[in-house]
Subunit: 114 residues, 2 copies
């Protein structure tokens, strides 16, 4: 990243806020990351992410609204619901890879005590 | 990103949570982005980011604690405090660039109505 001028700085701030508005918060990127291994049911996601059903439901609804996750009602008894990533969610790959890499190196830094 | 197995999925989830623990929330990445154009005073940051002093103070303290921002008390009358990015904050460049790019393309998508 080159040095920011006032103008590019404002543009960058807006773009970052836009991204955070859609995938910010504690859970959305974690959920997207978990769904990369394939479609999952609600309870499975709740367990794997460690999120309460109430919050999970809200987060999934927002992800669906923004076209990142699709919801499929399965004709089972009892009825189950499966969630999977949309093609559009692939546009977030670069963000996810960068965050994975940073989280990994930061943990190594903390462990090594630097 | 390749397809995740259960194991790489758990590792990715941990790394993303680690990153979100340090720079998650509504403001930290915005603040880092704003500080790229150079050191800034507290009031200047508060105004540019549109954050209340109370929340800004807490966010800056956490960024300082994690070695991403440094705080300098200036011997002026009245005393002023300046904040600037540390070298370590540069490790977040890839995350910031990816988020800027995504926010920008997402806004274009919304505007074009697709």
């Amino acid at each position: 990243m080159t040095t920011h001028t006032v103008e590019t700085c404002a543009k960058a701030k807006l773009a970052i806020r836009d991204t955070l508005d859609v995938v910010g918060g504690k859970w959305k990127l974690v959920l997207i990351s978990l769904l990369r291994s394939g479609k999952k049911g609600f309870n499975e996601l709740s367990r794997e992410a460690g999120i309460s059903p109430r919050i999970l439901s809200k987060e999934l609804q927002e992800l669906e609204m923004n076209g990142l996750v699709s919801r499929e009602v399965c004709n089972t008894k009892p009825v189950t619901v499966q969630y999977e990533l949309t093609d559009y969610s692939n546009t977030l790959n670069e963000v996810l890879v960068a965050m994975e890499k940073w989280g990994y190196q930061h943990r190594q830094k903390i462990i090594s005590g630097n």
